[in-house]
């Protein structure tokens, strides 16, 4: 095995081109577990810790460019304003020590359906892009095209994740996750939800209840229709139980979970409907308050 330590991003891309099977490592919170248990023995490890720009973020216009290695603890401390949904999701990752090392790039690279970032990224909207690069150039992959199978993403072997581009929140966002305790838990299932009042859309993200993280498309379309038809974006009036109930059912229908050690498919479907109703209620209450205080 080789241990490759590029000092710059360009060098990292050159190394990845030369060693396409090299396994990138940054926080190590997934990679080292596999190494310690001998699950996976890659031909080479590509350490990204020396590349400082990967652990930086910046806001240009209405978009956050989040470096792939910005640790979850810094997302919570520094970005809970512009990225509230992702910050809430970050808070449920592992423990403080894990959050000090792990970042969104690792979640995307591993593309596990249980990754905590994914529901929040999907809910943040269709304008979320994963910036990947190789010596051949840079690609912006839309989040909806990124997850392609169980632990598979749409990256090529010579590509590395540079950053994720996420629109600054223009409305309330929530994240909810089911587990057996509050820390060190892999999601039984999870749900991210966001209101996007500027363009009159809503965003959803389902975690751990399908082969990939996925959006509840019909639930989004139903809710967007109701909000537009009844003028609710303007009035901030109550949604009513019927709408909330229907939204929960549509989210539930969008999942295709399995029975496994963490929970049954039935339980996951049930829990998703509950989380969908709750996160919708929480965000809508916040939104109504904003409308009323602005009036």
């Amino acid at each position: 095995m080789e241990f490759l330590r590029p000092a710059t991003w360009d060098e990292a891309l050159a190394v990845k081109a030369e060693y396409p099977t090299a396994l990138p490592i940054s926080g190590g919170t997934d990679v080292m577990v596999e190494m310690n248990f001998d699950v996976h023995r890659p031909s080479a490890i590509l350490d990204l810790n020396r590349i400082t720009e990967l652990s930086q973020w910046e806001i240009t216009g209405d978009v956050v460019k989040l470096g792939a290695s910005v640790p979850y603890s810094r997302i919570i401390d520094e970005l809970s304003g512009p990225l509230p949904g992702l910050a809430l999701a970050a808070h449920t990752v592992g423990s403080p020590q894990i959050r000090n090392r792990g970042g969104v790039g690792g979640n995307l690279g591993a593309a596990s359906p249980a990754g905590d970032s994914h529901p929040a990224l999907l809910a943040a909207g269709r304008d979320v892009f994963v910036e990947v690069a190789s010596v051949r150039g840079t690609r912006m992959i839309a989040i909806d095209d990124f997850y392609v199978g169980v632990k598979r993403n749409s990256m090529e072997q010579d590509e590395l994740i540079r950053a994720v581009h996420i629109p600054v929140a223009d409305g309330p966002q929530q994240f909810s996750k089911i587990g057996t305790r509050n820390a060190m838990v892999i999601a039984v299932c999870a749900f991210g939800f966001a209101l996007h009042p500027k363009n009159g859309t809503v965003g959803t993200g389902i975690g751990s209840a399908a082969p990939t993280p996925r959006r509840a498309v019909e639930a989004e379309e139903y809710l967007q229709g109701v909000l537009a038809e009844r003028g609710l974006w303007e009035s901030g009036d109550l949604l009513g139980t019927e709408v909330i109930q229907k939204f929960g059912e549509l989210v539930k229908a969008a999942a295709s979970p399995i029975d496994d050690v963490r929970g049954t498919a039935d339980y996951r479907r049930h829990a998703l409907a509950v989380m969908a109703r709750r996160t919708l209620t929480w965000t809508w209450n916040d939104y109504s308050k904003q409308i009323r205080s602005a009036a």
Partner: protein
């Protein structure tokens, strides 16, 4: 491969390090710092917690090659300037927070980090900060006592200083 870094303020060098080896293994088996404990090897238990460039991390999840040129501080480095037990270490002894002792090194480092950030944490802050450190003996009550004791002593020391 060869890895050189700073451990508890002193330069150390480890040779013949396997490329997939963890920082924890290097500390325990190669540079004579067995204080950090090896329990789960997957970041679940926190027994191997050390400071890496001032941030508490699970040393079992840091690849040895990643610490090249960086600073590590382990439980052995929590002693005071005279080499006596540090404030957090003494509080754990005085509160009876140690039973089998396996989780203690990680709890000491994580508690030290918590009190550096917030010298007077609330009980829920303490539980949150220690949520990644498992103890299978104490039921955590004595550990909570120890952190509160360390907090009180740290505040008293800072006031008198």
């Amino acid at each position: 491969m060869r890895v050189t870094f700073t451990a508890n303020g002193k330069p150390v060098e480890a040779d013949d390090v396997w490329e997939g080896e963890s920082l924890l293994y290097v500390l325990r088996e190669r540079v004579g710092l067995p204080g950090s404990k090896n329990a789960c090897e997957q970041g679940e238990c926190g027994s191997c917690t050390v400071y890496l460039d001032g941030t508490p991390v699970c040393s079992c999840l840091v690849a040895a090659g990643q610490v090249q040129g960086r600073e590590v501080r382990t439980v052995e480095g929590l002693t005071d300037e005279n080499g006596e037990l540090g404030l957090v270490q003494q509080a754990f002894i005085d509160a009876g927070a140690v039973q089998c002792g396996f989780c203690t090194p990680g709890l000491l480092v994580q508690t030290d980090a918590l009190l550096e950030q917030d010298a007077q944490p609330s009980d829920s802050d303490i539980r949150e900060a220690l949520s990644g450190n498992l103890c299978r003996c104490t039921g955590y009550e004595k550990i909570m006592d120890a952190v509160r004791l360390a907090s009180a002593r740290k505040c008293a020391k800072e006031t008198s200083a």
